[in-house]
């Protein structure tokens, strides 16, 4: 019975031709992994930084920093202004190459599987990355296309409605308020499913209801098995999945 259910799992899994499993199918005694969901191991992710360090203007922002984020985890980077939070986030999103230590994506060095990493990353920086001469819909269409997806107008409308920009879909972004411009960038979270979110001060310029909704969204993402790395000065609801990294503390 155990063998039958195992065989079903083996064929559902991606690498069902792995040596042990074939042997076991042939009747050999073999170790059968027992924890639930083990066959999904091949398709989970993990961002890992080993011995990260960064020097700016002869001053070490941080050094020998080890951290890892996997599915269902939220990592909050803390520290006073100028302690290197944004720099760390830029390193973790693969934007800065001049740093100490190494980055691994799913166990492989980032340099070698950068495209695979980028396909899983959603990075929202200090600057919202939104073109002020374009409408929110046009901005989102470009971001969808960058992923190689056509996307549909309906999906973009739905994302903008959900983020609280109903009725502003076709207004040039320049005419929106700072908080609304921020929301255009945040709408990208709803459009393409990316497991890893790297967010630099996502709560900036967002009103109180928006902050609550955004926090709920982050929690839902983590509960679904995504992961979030963020910096914020906003007090987050303490969750078991929330971990902290403090910078600038000697």
């Amino acid at each position: 019975m155990r063998c039958v259910s195992w065989a079903r799992h083996a064929f559902n899994g991606r690498d069902w031709l792995a040596k042990e499993r074939v042997w076991s199918l042939m009747g050999f005694a073999c170790k059968v992994p027992s924890e639930p969901g083990w066959w999904e191991n091949a398709v989970t992710f993990r961002l890992e930084g080993r011995g990260l360090g960064c020097e700016r203007d002869d001053r070490w922002l941080f050094a020998n920093l080890d951290l890892a984020v996997g599915p269902g985890e939220m990592l909050r980077v803390e520290g006073p202004n100028g302690s290197g939070k944004t720099t760390l986030l830029k390193i973790l999103s693969g934007q800065l190459s001049e740093h100490d230590g190494e980055l691994l994506w799913s166990g492989k060095p980032m340099r070698r599987n950068r495209t695979a990493f980028l396909a899983n990353l959603l990075y929202l920086g200090h600057a919202p990355g939104v073109k002020s001469a374009l409408s929110p819909l046009e901005n989102l269409a470009w971001y969808q296309a960058l992923n190689g997806e056509h996307g549909s107008e309906a999906s973009r409308m739905a994302a903008l409605d959900e983020i609280g920009l109903y009725g502003f879909e076709d207004v040039p972004v320049a005419q929106l308020s700072a908080g609304q411009q921020r929301r255009v960038a945040l709408a990208r979270m709803l459009l393409s499913p990316r497991p890893l979110w790297v967010l630099d001060e996502p709560f900036t310029a967002i009103d109180r209801q928006g902050v609550a909704a955004l926090e709920t969204r982050l929690q839902t993402h983590v509960a679904r098995g995504g992961s979030v790395i963020l910096t914020t000065h906003h007090e987050l609801t303490p969750l078991p999945a929330l971990r902290r990294v403090s910078l600038g503390v000697s």
């Binding site: 899983n120 920086g125 919202p128 939104v130 001469a133 992923n147």
Partner: protein, 232 residues
């Protein structure tokens, strides 16, 4: 949550980038018109400043038209990546799961479509003011169309290198002008030969070769330069 496999869809991304940049520039027409107006003004002022003598003007017309077109292109380069850098779109472009050289090439294509190509179309009209002989208009337009594409590609390398600097304009000129010289020599040479009634094909072929070389190397150089600028 499952890992997302990188999709290909490069054609979609390139098409959307071209469309986005075209829309952006057509909504900010001032930026597009600036180099064209500069080109027209410079060429209009020369006959007034030098002499209305048609023989003299016809002799210096090829060089004048080419130098003015080159400076007009130079004038438009600074804004190529500046806007994207300021609003954070550039870092998003660099984080797209697509080959960066292809994406920057589509940005340069839009720059050429709205700067180099209009300059090439305008040049014969301005050539009339400089009493350019009738047979050389086609060569002028073709040489400018080919040459300005090389200028856009080479200039974009400089623009990418200086985008992180607060006042990169002067540095950009110093970096890029030496690389423009071969294009200027063969471009103006082609028109000169056509004015004298010779065969301009060898010069145009060399311009084409320069363009092929720039197309082959510049996208990678631009991508690398952008990564350096973002690192700074």
């Amino acid at each position: 949550m499952q890992v997302v496999e990188p999709k290909t869809g490069l054609a979609v991304a390139v098409k959307a980038t071209v469309k986005r940049d075209l829309t952006l520039l057509l909504r900010r027409r001032g930026e597009v018109l600036n180099p064209l107006v500069f080109f027209a003004l410079v060429i209009t002022l020369f006959p007034l400043g030098i002499s209305p003598d048609t023989d003299l003007l016809a002799e210096i017309a090829p060089g004048l038209l080419w130098v003015a077109a080159l400076l007009a292109t130079q004038l438009s380069l600074d804004v190529l990546f500046r806007g994207d850098f300021d609003d954070g779109s550039l870092e998003q472009l660099l984080l797209a799961p697509q080959p960066l050289p292809a994406l920057v090439l589509s940005k340069v294509l839009v720059h050429w479509l709205l700067t180099g190509l209009p300059l090439a179309v305008m040049a014969p009209l301005l050539g009339v003011m400089l009493a350019l002989p009738a047979g050389s208009y086609a060569v002028l337009a073709v040489s400018l169309a080919l040459g300005s594409a090389s200028l856009s590609l080479i200039g974009a390398i400089g623009a990418a290198l200086t985008v992180g600097l607060a006042r990169g304009g002067v540095l950009l000129s110093l970096l890029v002008l030496p690389l423009y010289i071969p294009v200027l020599i063969f471009g103006a040479g082609a028109v000169q030969v056509a004015v004298l009634g010779g065969n301009a094909a060898p010069h145009l072929a060399l311009l084409g070769a320069l363009l092929a070389l720039a197309l082959m190397l510049a996208p990678w150089a631009i991508a690398a330069a952008l990564r350096i600028s973002i690192n700074g």
